[in-house]
Symmetry: C2
């Protein structure tokens, strides 16, 4: 079956490292879903305003197709235990499609683009979107659902502390950007197999900054931040 | 992008008419998701047992591709109001892909087939399945989500009454099959534009029977049932 993108994500996460592993973890993350011709017809989005959440069906375009493997090692299980790919949400899947329920901030239309502003997402920049559909609580919300063994509950949260040197740079950012940095680090983007050394530094680029941190005793300690662009 | 089925539904609904319009409406509906080669590797499902619900990403293979239309007329809105296709769950979409959260009854393996037994589904027989992934309550369950205007709450439920003539035939069925008939009729499969005449009869084939009913005053009255096969 051939499928083609109806939209593309703009303003999404720019690096795989630091991109939340699921939606719903980083409320501050906003992006645009820009409709592509011929699907950029205003009528196609009519009736969506007023809806709070939408499903996006998208392609894992940044996860290189390494061929198909029946098992993967999910970060949630420590990164060294193999389970079946269909028991996980790994991007390395037979058909590289993902689905995310994200907040719909608004339906947007101006001379430059038509589409959706979304938040609390987990999407990389330029992600191809194959479908958009409203979240229907009566069939989609199953709060009592039991996830597979080892995936119970949301991923652990870290405290986030900015050291004075980092604070000096971050102080120039908007409240929203500062909150985004906190939320991304709180859900611990470190690879599961690199979590033993409290002195090990990690670096990611976010909100136009290079952010360096380490994790000790459940606290992500940001000790250096530099601006990448102005 | 090319995608290919990893599994196929067996024992799903046999007619579009009567197939629930969403999952979660007909608990008694059971089906099999039969893995296809090369995805029928036992390792690919390892770790899924113990999980209560899975997402299936599937193709609407029974909805003829009529080309793309920016608007559709959903049954929930009475069948005569047009809204944007991305504001609905209509099967008539640019990429004919659907997603359903269904109950995982068990992971199955024997000499004949490997795959999943599912329930509370909305899938037609022989539906191609493109992906299987666990339902994760912390990112998928959003009970407070607000659906688009007009789609609030589950579809209305009808009472279901079996007339004596129908009861005589249905009495030979299993409890489960009788419950399935009740559940399918309770969510009112009638086309939205054919709901005004309380004398109008509808017929659908289910559990090996042809079932005839009409709807008056919020009650689905089953007045004739005949066995199709033994």
């Amino acid at each position: 079956m051939r499928i083609e993108p109806v939209a593309r994500v703009a303003g999404g996460f720019e690096e795989r490292f630091g991109t939340p592993r699921q939606p719903g973890l980083v409320p501050q993350a906003q992006a645009r879903v820009v409709m592509l011709a011929p699907y950029d017809d205003a009528a196609a989005l009519r009736g969506l305003a007023g809806c709070s959440h939408v499903w996006l069906l998208f392609g894992f375009h940044c996860s290189p197709s390494r061929g198909w493997s029946p098992t993967v090692r999910p970060p949630r299980l420590g990164g060294n235990r193999r389970v079946g790919v269909f028991a996980t949400r790994s991007p390395f899947r037979p058909n590289q499609l993902g689905q995310s329920a994200v907040e719909l901030v608004k339906v947007h239309e101006d001379a430059n683009w038509r589409g959706l502003v979304i938040a609390n997402h987990d999407l990389m920049d330029a992600t191809p979107v194959y479908d958009i559909r409203p979240y229907m609580p009566y069939s989609d919300a199953i709060p009592h659902a039991v996830p597979p063994p080892g995936f119970e509950g949301p991923p652990g949260e870290l405290m986030v502390r900015f050291e004075p040197a980092a604070e000096r740079v971050l102080g120039d950012l908007s409240e929203g950007d500062r909150a985004l940095v906190r939320q991304v680090l709180a859900v611990d983007p470190r690879p599961a197999v690199q979590r033993d050394d409290p002195e090990r530094r990690f670096v990611l680029n976010l909100v136009g900054c290079s952010i360096r941190w380490r994790v000790a005793d459940g606290v992500a300690i940001v000790d250096a931040v530099s601006r990448l662009r102005d």
